[in-house]
């Protein structure tokens, strides 16, 4: 179990995380928030890049700062990954394994396994600098898997990936998720909905809502409507536009509203629940 207790983190005069508390068990968590809400800061605290994490984050009841070989227990994929571009994929992975205290001989089999999980076995001898963005991201995931960590933290793992790579990423997570705590930080609701057992919605460094996908959807229950274009509420403050759609050739607007005709009620999605939580609707 990974537990965060009263985590506070700020930069100069700006508070980013305020009294953050949460417990993670073996499951896949989606950390959903807009840019600047504190997702990356939270992950950096857990990985002790920021020292605030040493005393406020606990793993199986013990403070992170006191656990030896913690670097083998937590795998981390940063938002940008582009290290060691002059090395081959194999050598780069060897170096990253070395940083986790795993020597060259011991890491060989593990590197081949991890690279196999991300379907890059054919690229072991290629230079890291020659890889595409999606392939580089996969190398980053493979590196995070070195040492078979119990906790995996992935910061914006699908940012900049094309649809095919995103599907590939989802398959990778599905393949590795058993018996691990996996935290995905993202602002892409679709990825969270497809992969995560639990969702944590953050705003201004605090949790505004957390729960399963159903819990998040239910937040917008009874508030989502599919309204013909000419029947939108007169007061623009009474609703939020979620999107446009066409049904049988007629244009409809999907809205979030507290008071509209029951006839137009629609089933909410996770994204609707997210917007509901963010806007305090």
């Amino acid at each position: 179990m990974l537990e965060i207790k009263k985590l506070n983190k700020g930069f100069k005069n700006k508070k980013v995380l305020t009294n953050f508390n949460y417990q993670f068990d073996k499951s896949v968590y989606g950390l959903l928030a807009p840019n600047g809400a504190g997702k990356t800061t939270l992950l950096r605290c857990i990985t002790q890049i920021y020292p605030e994490g040493r005393k406020s984050v606990f793993y199986n009841g013990e403070q992170l700062g006191k656990i030896k070989e913690i670097n083998k227990r937590i795998g981390y994929l940063p938002q940008q990954f582009g290290l060691f571009k002059e090395l081959s994929v194999f050598d780069a992975m060897s170096l990253l394994a070395n940083f986790k205290g795993i020597g060259k001989k011991e890491s060989r089999a593990e590197i081949i396994d991890c690279i196999g999980i991300v379907n890059l076995s054919d690229s072991l001898s290629k230079k890291v600098g020659a890889l595409s963005g999606g392939m580089l991201r996969r190398v980053g995931i493979a590196a995070a898997l070195l040492g078979d960590p119990e906790v995996l933290l992935l910061d914006e793992p699908t940012a900049g990936l094309d649809p095919e790579e995103r599907v590939r990423f989802k398959n990778i997570i599905s393949a590795i998720k058993s018996n691990k705590i996996i935290v995905l930080s993202t602002h892409i609701v679709e990825d969270v909905e497809a992969l995560c057992d639990s969702i944590i919605i953050m705003k201004d460094g605090e949790i505004v809502l957390s729960g399963t996908c159903d819990t998040i959807r239910e937040t917008a229950g009874g508030k989502v409507y599919l309204v013909p274009g000419d029947e939108l509420p007169s007061n623009a403050d009474d609703y939020r536009v979620l999107g446009q759609t066409t049904v049988n050739g007629k244009a409809f607007t999907r809205i979030l509203s507290k008071k509209t005709k029951e006839d137009y009620s629609a089933l909410p999605t996770v994204e609707d629940g997210y917007i509901c939580a963010m806007e305090n609707f």
Binding site: Q48, N71, Y76, G82, L83, F84, L95, L96, F99, G103
Partner: protein
């Protein structure tokens, strides 16, 4: 047993970090082991073993050796301060660059010692020159680590080192005026105590500051 394993890890790490430099790895080797000896040989052909040859060797070594003493160090540090995703290398309170940059600097110094050993066969005073040049290299080492961490940019660090070297070349007197090190005079105990050793001490101070300075986040 544990220390042995740690040493093996450090050696493997240093090897891969130096390999990551690519072709630029060979630049200090070419300069120190090819260019300088070739230029020295040309001077020897013209002047023979004389004071003129001594000064030519001394000038060349002062120009090139200190700057290239931190070449590998800076390119190793580049991954830790400049590259995309370098925060990954600082997880869990790690500072993994330390041992590798010391090892890389040490390997270069061994190369210099070998070169100066050959010079000392021609001119006994080159043992004094060796101590002087190693002190200057320590100063460069400290500067490079401090400014890399301070500026989060190896490009700016290289610029600072180049400017310091150029200032030395443009404005040298017969005795190196502290904190400049370049001089046309033969190395002496007085010079070591007035110039080289204080320079090395400042270098060590910069080094310590660079080690303890946290990477900007």
């Amino acid at each position: 047993m544990r220390n042995g394993k740690l040493l093996v890890l450090i050696i493997e790490r240093t090897f891969l970090l130096l390999k990551n430099i690519g072709l630029l790895f060979f630049v200090p080797i070419i300069v120190v082991d090819v260019l300088i000896p070739v230029l020295n040989y040309i001077s020897y052909s013209v002047h023979g073993i004389s004071d003129e040859l001594y000064y030519r060797i001394s000038e060349l070594t002062q120009i090139f050796i200190p700057f290239f003493s931190v070449w590998w160090v800076i390119f190793i540090l580049k991954e830790f301060v400049d590259s995309d995703g370098c925060e990954l290398l600082y997880t869990n309170q790690k500072t993994p660059a330390k041992s590798s940059i010391f090892m890389a600097f040490g390997i270069y110094c061994l190369n210099i010692i070998a070169l100066y050993f050959i010079y000392s066969c021609l001119f006994k005073n080159f043992l004094m020159e060796l101590i002087k040049i190693l002190m200057v290299c320590v100063f460069f080492f400290g500067l490079s680590l401090f400014f890399s961490k301070m500026t989060d940019s190896t490009s700016i660090t290289i610029l600072i080192l180049v400017m310091y070297t150029l200032i030395n070349l443009i404005d040298y007197k017969h005795e190196g005026i502290f904190p400049l090190y370049f001089t046309g005079e033969k190395a002496s105990l007085t010079m070591l105590f007035i110039n080289s050793i204080p320079l090395a001490a400042i270098g060590l101070a910069f080094l310590l500051a660079g080690i303890f300075l946290r990477k900007k986040q």
